[in-house]
């Protein structure tokens, strides 16, 4: 089952846990399941259309992916804010 890792403040909105085992075959499905289990995180990673927010990065195996990326049961999705600004 894919794993999602979160940092504060997202982890605080997901039951205080930074690691979540979640079902799904795409990044979007996995993150929607995270929202279903932890409603306070709704809208923070994905917008209402299910798209990863522009300034949020989701990395799998060192590669930045979008919501439609296929993920496997051994994959770890790291959710990080963008390094923005100068």
């Amino acid at each position: 089952m894919p794993v999602v890792t979160l940092r504060a403040p997202l982890s605080q909105r997901a039951g205080g846990s930074s690691k979540h085992d979640l079902p799904g075959s795409t990044a979007g499905e996995v993150l929607r399941e995270l929202e279903r289990r932890h409603p306070p995180i709704v809208g923070w990673i994905l917008d209402e259309r299910g798209r990863v927010r522009p300034h949020v990065n989701v990395f799998v195996n060192g590669e930045r992916i979008r919501e439609d990326a296929v993920v496997g049961p051994a994959d770890v999705l790291h959710v990080l804010p963008s390094i923005s600004g100068g």
Partner: protein
């Protein structure tokens, strides 16, 4: 004692002080540090506080609380439909409606949301959204924003909203159908030969006179207008002002002839004219204007005051007025603009000011 809610680029500041003292207000609390708080207000009917804030990473949301020094709760919405083509970018304003529990929120991209449960959950006004899609509305410099919501006192079915840059929209049936209020508005930023029939009408701010509700005042992009027929037709009232350009506007709730604006030089130079901060007041519905500057910076002051950064409390000669600038300065008046004092200096750039 007055409580001020000051939204800034770096959080919400709750200030308290006594306007009769003329001394700076104290910071009671700072909420949402690091996030932009575009708008904050308190619903006087319930005492509930609302704040619209946007994380640079995690997007916009609407929060509410009964105690701004404590925990805030995230509202359910406003959001656009999951299967639609839009995502919420920003919440520009929150306005109590005329029925118990009814509130409105104006958003970008331009949309009206309503809550019937005191602001805990929100739904999109679908009929105005369809007008937006059919009308190919275009954004102003600040985005495609529904920023002004003007309820009709005592009648929950009647409402006027202002959109940058898609003019005025009016409903008489609680938002089921909408009509435009375009007549008389002149978009001087469009070549004269292209103005006929355009809907690119850049409303900057609009307020209704509660005691004469068919009257509305508007700060437009380059002009100031008044309507005496519910927003259908508009007449220019800029004569006597140093500029027609500006963003915020305040109307005295008790006097339909009394309104205030803060002119800026022009759209290409959005600062106070001649380096002097002045608030202009009309007591005759825009026929004449009086400049107020006593206690305000009078030289080498080039401030920008944004559309939601001018608020009021009370009415008449003792009406309190407050405005904040992108410099982080907040000013107040306890005598309807006759004299001013510094409420606070060196906050973050101010996006909104409302008296709680």
């Amino acid at each position: 004692m007055t409580e001020l809610l000051v939204g800034t680029k770096k959080g919400l500041f709750v200030l308290r002080g006594d306007p009769a003292d003329g001394r700076p207000y104290e910071i009671v609390t700072r909420a949402f540090p690091g996030d932009i708080v575009e708008y904050a207000m308190r619903d006087a009917r319930t005492g509930r506080y609302f704040a619209a804030h946007t994380s640079g990473f995690y997007g916009p949301r609407l929060m509410f609380t009964d105690d701004p020094t404590g925990e805030w709760t995230q509202a359910v919405g406003p959001v656009f439909p999951e299967d639609g083509e839009a995502s919420l970018e920003r919440i520009w304003t929150i306005t109590p409606g005329e029925a118990d529990g009814l509130l409105y929120a104006g958003a970008a991209p331009a949309a009206l949301f309503a809550s019937t449960d005191g602001g805990e959950s929100w739904s999109l006004n679908e009929s105005l959204w369809k007008e937006r899609r059919a009308g190919d509305w275009q954004p102003g410099a600040g985005g495609l924003a529904l920023h002004s919501i003007c309820p009709w006192p005592g009648d929950e079915r009647r409402l006027a909203v202002g959109v940058s840059a898609a003019g005025v929209w009016i409903t008489d049936d609680g938002g089921d159908t909408w009509r435009t209020g375009y007549e008389g508005l002149v978009p001087e930023y469009i070549p004269e030969e292209d103005r006929a029939g355009t809907n690119a009408l850049c409303v900057h701010n609009m307020h209704r006179a509660p005691t004469r509700p068919e009257r509305l005042f508007m700060q437009f992009h380059g002009n100031v207008y008044r309507s005496d027929d519910e927003g259908s037709n508009w007449q220019e009232i800029r004569a006597g002002l140093p500029s027609g350009f500006g963003f915020p506007l305040v109307v005295d709730p008790s006097d339909p002839d009394n309104a205030y604006v803060i002119p800026l030089v022009a759209d290409v130079d959005r600062v106070t004219p001649e380096g002097a901060v002045r608030v202009y007041e009309t007591r005759d519905a825009g026929s004449t204007w009086t400049a107020h500057g006593r206690g305000l910076p009078g030289e080498e002051a080039y401030l920008t005051v944004l559309r939601q950064a001018f608020g009021a409390a009370g009415t008449g000669a003792s009406m309190e007025l407050y405005f904040g600038a992108t410099s982080g300065d907040v000013f107040g008046s306890a005598d309807a603009g006759g004299s001013w004092f510094s409420v606070h200096e060196r906050l973050a750039p101010v996006t909104s000011v409302r008296a709680a």
